[in-house]
């Protein structure tokens, strides 16, 4: 397999926390320009997989490549292609949202002119202009999530990795974020999104992976999952059936 063909490639990845195996022999390839939804019950290993991809954890066995760069040995090159939005968004609480976005722009070496032009569009689309000059400590979860998404998209990453992106967002913001992700994939970027919101995954994902107890039990398009589950129903029913089989 040529790992440079894929935005994300995991090969035989296992990760344990003490005696608990969080991810077991996981192999997965996410092509460039695709929106990949990563599903699984609570504690299935979704967040661990995401942390392995972005380099916050190291696999016990196996390899992880991002845009052809091995995360363990060439982490800096891999991270330059990545943007990561965790489930609990991080912001410096004594900076304003605008100061934080300027910091991110400088972190990724974006020129002032380009930063201003990109920010103008993101501020408008994510509707963050009203509170962008307040200290981030006063933001609600949804406001933080929108600013962090703007920061993640600011440097136009090749791979966008997001853990539970829709939590805390209002319906309008969810629509905007969904559209942003789809556009990002259409423009050649890759989105790796973990979520419990199955109807969103069903609506926007090009590919879906289901992990259960650390094992990837299904991966493919929605039609391929339907074929696997031998049912012509919604993703919710497919998910419940597959994870029930995993339990049995």
């Amino acid at each position: 397999m040529n790992n440079t063909d894929h935005a994300i490639a995991l090969v035989g990845v296992t990760k344990s926390y003490g005696r608990t195996i969080a991810v077991r022999d996981l192999s997965l390839e996410v092509p460039r320009g695709k929106l990949f939804a990563f599903l699984g019950p609570n504690g299935a290993g979704k967040t661990t997989t995401i942390k392995l991809i972005v380099g916050l954890l190291r696999p016990d066995t196996g390899w992880i490549h991002v845009c052809g760069h091995e995360v363990g040995s060439n982490g800096l090159a891999a991270k330059a292609q990545l943007a990561y939005v965790p489930d609990q968004p991080f912001l410096y609480e004594k900076l304003t949202g605008r100061e934080f976005l300027y910091f991110v722009a400088e972190l990724y070496g974006i020129s002032t002119r380009r930063r201003d032009s990109l920010l103008e569009s993101l501020i408008h689309r994510l509707d963050v202009g009203e509170f962008l000059d307040q200290l981030t400590e006063s933001y609600s979860h949804g406001m933080k999530q929108r600013v962090v998404l703007a920061a993640a998209l600011l440097h136009e990453p090749a791979v966008l990795v997001i853990d539970e992106p829709m939590v805390g967002l209002d319906p309008r913001a969810i629509r905007v974020v969904k559209n942003l992700f789809v556009e990002h994939a259409q423009n050649g970027g890759t989105v790796f999104m973990s979520t419990h919101t199955l109807d969103i995954a069903e609506a926007v994902a090009d590919q879906i992976g289901i992990i259960h107890r650390g094992v990837l039990i299904a991966v493919g398009t929605l039609d391929e999952l339907r074929a696997l589950a031998r049912r012509q129903h919604s993703l919710e029913e497919i998910f419940l059936q597959l994870t029930e089989v995993g339990d049995g």
Binding site: K15, S16, Y17, G18, T20, K51, V54, G55, L56, L57, R58, C67, G75, L76, A77, K79, A80, Q81, L82, Y84, P86, Q88, F90, Y92, K94, L95, T96, E99, F103, E106, L107, Y108, G109, L135, H155, E156, P157, A158, H184, N187, G188, G189
Partner: protein, 572 residues
């Protein structure tokens, strides 16, 4: 989409990270000036008062030295040697705890690790941050020390014109010294995360406790007078301490440099400053290189180590709570049991209590070795009274830091705790019962040990134990009551809750309460100074002690009542 970054940035982004920190600090200061000018002014005034108090104390000490120039020649470098060796140990430990949190515990380091930053930039930032956070108090302590030393020096040695140079070099010594424990602390934190990631904080707390206890045992043994003459003892003591004057230890470079400065030997002083600086740069570079080289592995091990079943411990603490809080109704007993579990799983809380009272216990068990003849004079009461003062102040520190935030922390969970089928104010009783149980247990045990070691009369032993329980009652009542009256429900950081307006109010009230009670007991002790051991105090002294206990109990009850009234109608 633009062409993604193909080549990772090779430039150091440390400057950018530092600018963000400076900006955050600037915003924090501006916010404090705009939103809480009174609190900021009060803090500045309090700091100024502490500085003046320290200056006065140091001036008296150095003035005393100046009266005996021969002894001062030996004593001043020794005092500085002791001061800086103690600072080296304490700052290393404090840096290790802060660096561990900064490197492996904060979401910021996780965020920075996913950005295209070199580990060296992240580690350097965290090193600087933790060193400043752990060491600012040394600077606070150092400035009045420096001015007092210069003012107490003979004018013939250090003229007014020379003092600015002295101050500059003195500050330079402090600044050159603090990176050394900073780097050692960061290496310790990294080693803990890398090699014993499971229960790291517990291991660090226990290691620190053992370190401090060992240091104290060693110190006490060195201080024992034995049967020898004072001069022989002094020589023996200095001989045992001679290793701290080793040329390889940084405390010696700083002490020697300051001593040369006091004697207006600038070039020799600058030589020692150069040695300190060079070593500080070297060890900082070495620590940053080692930690950044293996940072991702250590971060991974620290993250992977935070697991493990708590079921056996949970059963044990549940059983213990059932015994300790048997008198509470079931819902309140469960809340007290929850607080006990949280306490037992937070090493910051129990380790502070264990270390402070452990030090007291060590000191008390070594009391008889001092062989000072107390019986037959009022001293047999003065020493236990001083013990009571120390225990009370430790209790006030503990309740202000750890009991006060308990009610605020329930703010996030009031949807659950607030629905307990009992009046909401009663929840404060559970908090109070938990705090009383923990504080009475350790304080009474310590005071009982003190009375046994000093072979105190039974009447005075009972008086001291009853006063201690009364102080526990008052302090716990204050911390729970004021905690409920001035809570910070939107804050989860206990340190910030304790440092807020309510926490500061509670601290001042607790210190005032302790002072009131101790003045009462002090007066009773003073009135009984002519009593010989075995004689009972007079009725007036007993009445004063009784009144002091009543005052603290009444104050605690009043605070609880005020807190409960507010807590019953509070909206979160």
């Amino acid at each position: 989409m633009a062409e993604p970054l193909a080549i990772p940035p090779t430039r150091s982004l440390l400057g950018l990270l530092l600018r963000v920190k400076v900006r955050s600090m600037w915003n924090r200061t501006r916010q404090a000036v705009d939103e809480a000018p009174v609190r900021l002014s009060a803090a500045v005034i309090l700091v100024a008062l502490i500085w003046l108090g320290l200056y006065w104390l140091f001036y008296l000490v150095f003035g005393q030295f100046r009266r005996t120039p021969l002894e001062a020649t030996v004593a001043i470098p020794l005092v500085f040697n002791f001061f800086f060796v103690a600072m080296l140990v304490m700052l290393t430990f404090s840096n290790a705890i802060i660096a561990y949190g900064a490197l492996f515990g904060k979401t910021e380091s996780a965020y920075l690790l996913t950005a295209p930053l070199t580990p060296r930039d992240v580690v350097t930032l965290k090193y600087l941050e933790s060193t400043v956070m752990a060491s600012w108090s040394l600077i606070l302590l150092g400035l009045p020390l420096m001015i007092a030393l210069a003012d107490a020096a003979e004018r013939s040695v250090l003229s007014v014109a020379q003092r600015p140079v002295f101050y500059a070099v003195f500050i330079a010594f402090f600044l050159a010294f603090i990176p050394i424990p900073g780097a050692l602390g960061m290496l310790l934190a990294w080693a803990a995360a890398r090699f014993c990631p499971r229960r790291t904080i517990q291991s660090a707390a226990v290691a620190g406790g053992i370190l401090v206890a060992g240091f104290v045992v060693w110190g006490m043994r060195s201080l024992r007078l034995g049967e020898t003459e004072a001069e022989v003892w002094l020589r023996s003591f200095l001989a045992r301490m001679s290793f701290i004057e080793s040329a390889l230890l940084p405390n010696n470079w700083v002490a020697a440099g300051i001593d040369h400065m006091i004697h207006n030997q600038l070039s020799q002083s600058l030589l020692y400053l150069g040695v300190t600086l060079a070593n500080a740069f070297f060890i900082s570079w070495l620590a940053v290189m080692i930690v950044s080289r293996y940072f991702d592995r250590a971060h991974d091990r620290a993250a992977a180590g935070r697991s493990g079943s708590k079921r056996p411990a949970s059963r044990a603490s549940g059983g213990l709570a059932g015994l300790l809080f048997f008198y509470l109704p079931p819902p309140l007993r469960l809340i007290a049991a929850k607080d006990l579990r949280t306490f037992s799983r937070d090493p910051l809380q129990w380790s502070q209590l264990v270390i402070l009272f452990g030090l007291m216990a060590l000191y008390l068990t070594n009391m008889p070795t001092l062989r000072v003849e107390f019986s037959g004079s009022g001293w047999f009461l003065i020493i236990p009274f001083l013990n009571l003062c120390a225990v009370s102040l430790i209790l006030a520190t503990f309740t202000c830091r750890f009991v006060f935030p308990l009610v605020s922390l329930e703010g996030q969970k009031l949807w659950l705790v607030g629905l307990v089928p009992t009046p909401r104010g009663h929840i404060l009783l559970a908090k109070f019962a938990f705090a009383m149980t923990v504080t009475v247990f350790v304080a009474v045990a310590t005071m009982a040990l003190a009375t046994v070691m000093l072979e105190l009369d039974i009447v005075w032993a009972v008086i001291h134990v009853v006063v201690t329980v009364g102080i526990c009652f008052g302090l716990c009542g204050f911390s729970v009551g004021i905690g409920a009256r001035l809570p910070m429900f939107n804050q989860t950081n206990t340190a910030r809750i304790a440092n807020g307006l309510g926490g500061t109010t509670n601290l001042l009230a607790s210190v005032a309460l302790v002072a009131t009670v101790l003045i009462g007991v002090g007066v009773a002790t003073w009135r009984s100074r002519d009593l010989t051991s075995g004689r009972l105090p007079d009725a007036a002294s007993l009445a004063i002690c009784g009144a002091a206990v009543l005052v603290t109990v009444a104050a605690g009850l009043a605070a609880l009542w005020i807190g409960a009234r507010h807590f019953n109608r509070v909206e979160v």
